[in-house]
């Protein structure tokens, strides 16, 4: 068990309205404190916007601009350009968006910002569904997961946004999990020092959305990482892959068991999901092995 080394600067305060036990609040705390006070945030409608607070309260110390669901990356670009015009290029511009606001309705704006290599740090809190509107599927919802709009389980795979982003050849892409705080903090610190578009996708097991027990969010996230369902990785320049946790366990069952959204699965379905996970893991290993940085 690793010790968490983390300094709380008071950038995220109590009184926020996340569901009790939600790991998104934990992740926000770590991210905001790591980014520090020289930052401006842009947040699109999502749990993170709710957690940031409703007028006239705010749970975050940095100024936040609440934007529209489809516009996080475009709005962040606007803030950044204004800061540059005012000769404040070092201020971090941070985006908080959900998976719906990233994989779905906001993908066009994100792709455009990434192609322009805008100097923004884009955090996607990936709870694999539209939780703010009561838990419908997004294109990040994984195969077989039950949501409000996929009552019999989703019939298609989770969109591989990481590969889509890698194809944009942006300087930095990473995944992070509230179960691996030191890793998350290190990735934020690294991203902060890089100029250009940085995207970090943070896995957030949603208590009502996934049917996870109030005290099980972090444990579920850990199991997702350890089972290889949600690999912790970094991609530099779209081509250099590195795994932060380079081993995975043999079975996803214990991960699935934490969640009611997979309760309907029989052994065949579980075997199919296992095969999918193993296949993706092998593919990732190949990407790591093929990375130019490893093959100079």
């Amino acid at each position: 068990m690793e010790l968490i080394s983390y300094q709380d600067e008071g950038q995220f305060v109590s009184g926020h309205v996340a569901c009790g036990g939600c790991a998104e609040a934990l992740a926000m705390r770590v991210i905001l404190n790591t980014v520090g006070s020289d930052a401006i945030g842009v947040v699109s409608p999502s749990c993170s916007a709710v957690i940031c607070g409703g007028y006239p309260m705010s749970a975050v110390k940095i100024p936040m601009f609440h934007t529209t669901l489809e516009s996080a990356a475009a709005s962040a670009s606007g803030v950044k350009r204004a800061l540059v015009a005012q000769n404040k290029p070092d201020t971090t511009v941070l985006c908080f968006a959900g998976d719906g606001g990233t994989y779905d309705i906001g993908l066009q704006a994100l792709s455009s910002a990434a192609e322009r290599n805008e100097d923004i740090l884009y955090i996607c809190f990936d709870n694999e569904g539209y939780m703010n509107t009561g838990g419908q599927k997004s294109s990040s919802t994984p195969l077989d997961a039950v949501t409000g709009s996929t009552p019999a389980g989703k019939t298609t795979r989770k969109k591989n946004l990481i590969e889509i982003l890698a194809a944009h050849r942006i300087p930095y892409i990473a995944t992070a999990s509230p179960s691996h705080i030191n890793d998350m903090r290190a990735k934020i610190e690294k991203a902060k020092a890089i100029r250009g578009t940085k995207v970090i996708i943070v896995l957030i097991p949603c208590l009502p959305g996934w049917g996870v027990a109030d005290n099980a969010a972090v444990r579920t996230a850990r199991k997702a990482v350890e089972a290889g369902v949600f690999p912790l990785l970094e991609i530099e320049d779209g081509v250099n892959y590195r795994l932060s946790v380079s081993e995975k366990g043999d079975s996803i069952e214990s991960y699935l068991k934490e969640q009611k959204r997979y309760r309907h699965l029989d052994a065949d379905h579980i075997a199919r999901l296992q095969a999918e996970t193993d296949f993706e893991w092998r593919r990732l290993q190949q990407r790591v092995a093929d990375s130019p940085a490893r093959n100079p």
Partner: protein, 387 residues
Amino acid sequence: MDMRANARGVLLSGNQAVAYGVLLARPDVIPVYPITPQTPILEQIIELHSEGRMKAELLTPESEHSAMSACIPASLTGARVFTATSSQGLLLMHELLHYASGARSSIVMCNVNRTPASPWGFWPDQLDSLAQRDTGWIQVYSESPQESLDGVIQLFRVAETANIPAMICHDAFYVSHAVEPVEIPSQLTVDEFLPPFKPDIRLDTTLGRSFGAPADQRNWNNTRRDLDAAMATVPDLVSEAGRLWGDLTGRHYAPLEEYRMEGADVVIVTMGSMCGTVREAVDAMREAGVKAGMLKVRLFRPLPMAALRQALEGVPCAIVLDRNYSPGTGGILHQELKSVLFNMKNAPRLHGLMAGVGGVNVSPAKIGELVAQYRDKEPQVGAIWVD
């Protein structure tokens, strides 16, 4: 047994009632994206679909822009199409709303009226759909879950006859989430009322027609003249649909509804859920000897101008209650009425009051006070904040 008589009274919210109206209309394609407070419509449709009761193709794209982009050609292909949205979603569709009417699609959409951001809010306010008044959609405002259910079915008939897309609007929470006993008509009744959608002009491999290709100035102009001619038929189509529906179900509808207007010397003109509050206020005023009445505007686009002039002719005073604010001019229904009453002899003194903007509560007692305060005043040109 008369199969039409099997209407059932059940407790439904406005949004559930819409979903049942959609079920009975037998749509073919439903592209839809969730947004508060429309989501229960989507959820109810998905439930009916997963139970196998609704056969439509359900499409859940990544945004409202894509939802409406799918609706338009689906309708042009000859499918009966429904969608639902609210506020930001409707505003995101704006580009396609013009496209939908220009292409003469026959989509029916439910918009749940909610405040547009910024700041974020989730409150009843009709600005979202009123701001779409120039997009070429038919707009009907509903006061209750029953009216929303009935309205969806009637609007399919109107939209598919005129080949103009139609929007039924109901207020966030006051109608969308309020639960009331609702009569669900039988499938037979609806089938008798609503013929299958079979447009002569459609995307069809056997016809080979195209839609939307660039047109020169004259042809572009002609499309709008055609749309204008079709729009002109809508008030009668709405009246006819409301009459027929009334004959089948006992619930009659018209573009306008008059409530206790006999001998009224002050008439409140309004739309949507505010009408329910005004009914109570009117009853209380009548009780107290004030000759008040209400004129409910159900059909807002096209505006039933002749009917409005007729209803208000000779009324001494009319007070418009607008639950919306158009910056720079004021309440939108007030503006519309001023233009309708222009140059009319015996026009009422017309007051425009912005009441309940942003979802602020307006009680029947408050309406009584407003009537007492404004009925004998000389009207102002602009609208007044009163809440």
